[in-house]
Symmetry: C2
DNA sequence: TCACGATCCGGACCGAGGTCCGTTTAGATT
DNA sequence: AATCTAAACGGACCTCGGTCCGGATCGTGA
């Protein structure tokens, strides 16, 4: 056991600070070397093109590398694995959503009542996932990592915070997990594409769930 | 485009009837040829041995085939894919659980009030998953198939039925999905192994969730 | 007992994800 | 400008899941 230094130190930690990410910065690479940054951009662009042309299934690591005129090793060095690449593709919209509920206008952002924010949050997540369902599904890592990704951690933290304001006596951490689980992309896929439920029903389901869990009257009750 | 007959017709449909499976039969192979049945048993035994020796990670299709002194193609013919093999390993306990809540003694089985059955159901699922966590995790198919497997369909049907008796006015189908999502093995793994929550807390969380969703007082309230 | 067809077996083969390591290069220092 | 080092590059290589099809086997009917 001489040296155990990994070939690539680590594949670009997704977020710098644990949860607090500034929303203004357009990109997030810490301090990539010029060529590395260029290749990163080319890879993302190539991947997006491949998706547009042949769907997520066409996004093969080799194909992406070839399309970006780059070695295969480079793809893995930059993104860690296929999941990492797909996540990076989703990163933009993830940050958008985060910015919206962290500092955007009500009812999503601060300024609205916690209960209302929670309702809006679920609906937003629901529709966002529905839009990019294929990508979201393909980006799903192995079960072990599903919840450790910082992006979902951020959502969880937010929901937990809202819950603490609405039902302070509950086990908000646990409850947040449950609520988020009901917004899982795989579940949305199953319900909409395999069971044929319309999005409106899922939306209503979320509002109803929130109402039950928080023991508040459902929205639309106040006339 | 002459003939499109698949090499292997289908990899052993997991259950014969949609949901109604008789609980008495010990095994379920429809009518396998003698050698096929023998090989099937040897494969399952070999897989179990491999798990015991080196964990789920050691369960490679080739390794299982070799350990069972059988060709690789045979494994795939019998179980379809790796997920299928792992599922088959879980099949016994799945049927056990199903028998318990379908025809076993209260509070799980019929005879107890629906609300009580629902509570017991969650707790049972919780502990069963916790026992075989590694296997449950590894057996998780790609997101697209997570919910289409008959075993989970059976759980869902049961929960839906109970819900209909407890909260007839709700969207029980949807609610059942949500409740089951909160018992997902991946989530249990995250909460217990990565967040360090004790099982008691998850159990309490389930009971609390049921209470909220059904708008009933939590158990232990009656004195 | 024999023959025959459906079923099953085996292992070569393929594609894709992921790793390794010798080589190249950016860019900071002198 | 010359040098030096950490970082990045590239593609051969490995493993593993999954497919295919020629050949062996079971078990049934005569």
């Amino acid at each position: 056991m001489s040296s155990a230094l990994p070939p690539f130190p680590k594949p670009e930690e997704p977020f710098d600070a644990p949860q607090m990410l500034e929303v203004g910065t357009s990109s997030d690479e810490p301090c990539l070397r010029a060529d590395a940054a260029r290749n990163r951009a080319r890879l993302l662009e190539a991947a997006a093109r491949l998706i547009a042309e042949q769907g997520v299934a066409g996004v093969t690591m080799e194909a992406v590398a070839a399309a970006a005129q780059v070695g295969k090793g480079t793809v893995f060095r930059r993104f860690g694995d296929r999941t990492g690449l797909l996540m990076a593709l989703l990163d933009h919209s993830a940050r958008q959503l985060q910015a919206d509920f962290l500092g955007g206008p009500p009812p999503l952002g601060p300024g609205a009542a916690p209960l209302e924010r929670l309702r809006a949050f679920g609906v937003a997540v629901l529709y966002r996932s529905a839009e990019q369902l294929d990508l979201q599904l393909a980006a799903q890592p192995e079960p072990t990592r599903r919840f450790s990704h910082p992006a979902v951690g951020s959502l969880r933290t937010h929901v937990t915070m809202l819950l603490r304001q609405i039902v302070p006596d509950a086990d908000c951490d646990l409850l947040a997990h449950t609520l988020l689980a009901s917004l899982d992309p795989a579940l949305i896929h199953h319900l909409t594409r395999q069971c044929g439920m319309p999005m409106e029903r899922l939306e209503a389901g979320w509002l109803d769930l929130v109402a039950r869990v928080t023991a508040t009257p459902p929205p639309g009750t106040g006339r």
